[in-house]
């Protein structure tokens, strides 16, 4: 029971798995790869939890009784609480994966690609086009605004001219 590298080796592996997942999420532009990498990240955390539940010489936390409540195994049972937490987490993780995949399918439908950088480029282009369209719209607006005084003046002139003939409102 002396402290050793083997004693915390498991925790290093969990860090390694998490970092592999994190690297995949950051470095890979492919959305499917990112979803898979997220799964790896989650498994790292699961490993951390389950490793903590182990007790030296313990067995699975399912009591087996032989007769009259006598225990077949008296030794320690592993801690069941992390198992419970992770059990539900795994099922929730597959739900998360499913929703992510559905979103990816919709993204493919909208953009035609599932590479994050290409999606960014398309978004950027869209934004530029939108900006250009807005500029054009603004320019037209300004032109209209500049034209306004002249129009008003013309209208006023028309109205002034209209005084000569009361009753005829233009």
């Amino acid at each position: 029971m002396t402290a050793s590298v083997l004693g915390i080796y498991n925790y290093w592996i969990y860090v390694l798995l998490m970092m592999i997942g994190l690297y995949g999420v950051i470095a890979k532009p492919n959305l499917i790869k990112q979803a898979i990498a997220l799964g790896l990240f989650q498994t790292g955390i699961f490993l951390y939890y389950i490793s903590m539940a182990v007790i030296d010489g313990g067995t699975a936390p399912v009591w087996t009784t032989i007769q009259d409540g006598a225990q077949k195994f008296e030794g320690p049972y592993d801690n069941p609480l992390p198992h419970v937490l992770i059990l539900t987490a795994i099922v929730v993780s597959v739900s998360v994966l499913a929703v992510a995949l559905a979103l990816i399918i919709n993204i493919k439908r909208r953009y035609g690609t599932i590479e994050a950088d290409e999606i960014d480029e398309i978004d950027q282009a869209d934004r530029l086009a939108e900006y250009a369209a807005g500029q054009a719209f603004d320019a037209a607006d300004e032109a209209e605004a500049e034209a306004q005084p002249a129009i008003r003046a013309a209208a006023a002139a028309a109205a002034h001219a209209g005084h000569a003939h009361p009753g005829s409102h233009v």
């Binding site: 915390i8 860090v15 798995l17 470095a27 030296d56 699975a60 008296e74 419970v84 995949l101 559905a102």
Partner: protein, 402 residues
């Protein structure tokens, strides 16, 4: 213990290699396949650490369902990711190295792998385990806490003992350690009349016989102690099914033909599938029902049921599945599962207990009431999980017909 450590080390090496391969391989199809291998290996790690229920779930969910979902998605997508200019993404690598180093530095203070004195075995868990422990020791009588027992004591990487003021070679320490290894985790809870952590409203269950009648403590914690969490996790899965329907389902036009590509031309496969599907469904129901006695339960059994239906759809085509189990039935059953779960809780209220306090279901014998309530709850979870998984598969597959 050494056997566990040796196998654990080798398995984790294999797992890590697979993980790196999953990230690095360019074909997404191969990546999905390796995900299945990864999950199976991970499930072996869980079995090695005696976590049967988690292994069950991981094998069924990770090895089965998620691989099938990933492959189902790849139908519309390019099968290879595009070639990256640089092999190594430097900022990501630096970020990961720094974060990893910080986390590894954090692990140096962790208690040893398998240390019975680790805080996790002494702080919160024993409070609900105590009743079990009390049950275990019913025949032998309860043992009083030893002098100077500190539930927070544990050993760090350096071998220093934290939380215990005494010399580790002290006999009291050894005695404590033996008692911890015996499974008696928090002796003070066992002392009658002295309940240190029992604030008002803290306990959801009567302390006398909770867990005593359910051999699988994982299931009893899942449905009892964490009953509320499990209920809302079932709701999360339900929500995922609903989101899939909202994201992908399109109204079908009348008379529109369902395209499909059944594998019925392979005679051996067809016959074996036809033979094995009743067995798979029966096994799924067995896993759900058997959840209190051994590893298994609603989540695992539900996934197995879904796997059976998915196998049917794979070999005989989705239209055949729709004739057996129309989408309308699937949709309704998805909600019915959650309803069964919350309905069981409401029934407990009706019988005079608290919400999800199953012992109220049978006043004469609280233990049987708990067993009944947990079975009902497991069936609710199983129905929801299987139907949501089937809905997800159906939606992803329907997408291929367009």
């Amino acid at each position: 213990m050494t056997t566990i450590v040796i196998i654990d080390t080798l398995l984790l090496l294999l797992v890590t290699a697979t993980a790196i391969a999953i990230i690095e391989v360019r074909s997404l199809y191969a990546s999905a396949m390796l995900t299945s291998v990864y999950s199976l290996l991970m499930a072996l790690v869980w079995v090695n650490m005696h976590s049967m229920d988690v292994a069950f779930t991981e094998a069924a969910v990770g090895g089965g369902i998620s691989t099938i979902l990933l492959i189902g998605t790849l139908v519309h997508l390019p099968r290879e990711e595009k070639k990256l200019k640089k092999r190594l993404h430097a900022p990501a690598a630096i970020t990961c190295a720094l974060a990893g180093a910080a986390l590894i530095y954090g692990t140096l203070d962790m208690p040893n792998f398998g240390d019975p004195m680790a805080p996790i075995h002494h702080y919160r868990v024993p409070e609900m385990m105590s009743q079990t422990v009390g049950f275990i020791n019913q025949t032998k009588g309860k043992q009083p806490a030893p002098e100077g027992f500190d539930p927070y004591a544990y050993r760090t990487f350096n071998g220093a003992v934290q939380g215990i003021p005494k010399d580790p070679t002290d006999t009291a320490w050894r005695e404590t350690s033996i008692i911890a290894q015996r499974g008696i985790m928090v002796p003070q809870v066992l002392t009658p009349g002295h309940e240190p952590h029992h604030e008002a409203g803290h306990h959801l269950h009567p302390p006398d016989d909770f867990n005593g009648h359910i051999p699988n403590s994982v299931t009893s914690l899942l449905a009892g102690y964490r009953g509320y969490d499990t209920m809302f996790e079932t709701t999360v899965i339900f929500t995922a099914g609903v989101s899939l329907i909202m994201l992908l389902r399109r109204p079908r036009r009348e008379g529109e033909a369902q395209k499909s590509a059944p594998m019925t031309d392979q005679v051996i496969l067809r016959v074996v599938t036809k033979m094995s599907i009743p067995f798979i469904l029966l096994f799924g129901l067995y896993v759900i029902t058997h959840g209190e006695l051994g590893p298994g339960g609603g989540f695992q059994g539900g996934v197995v049921l879904a796997c059976g239906f998915i196998l049917f759809a794979l070999v005989f085509g989705r239209p055949a599945l729709y004739r057996v189990l129309p989408p309308r039935v699937t949709d309704v059953l998805t909600g019915v599962g959650v309803l069964i779960y919350s309905g069981t809780g409401a029934a407990c209220l009706f019988f005079g207990g608290k919400f999800l306090d199953y012992s109220a279901l049978n006043a004469a014998s609280p233990g049987e009431g708990e067993a009944l309530g947990m079975t009902l709850v497991e069936y609710g979870v199983g129905i929801t999980v299987s139907m949501v998984m089937l809905t997800i598969f159906n939606q992803l597959a329907e997408e291929q017909s367009k």
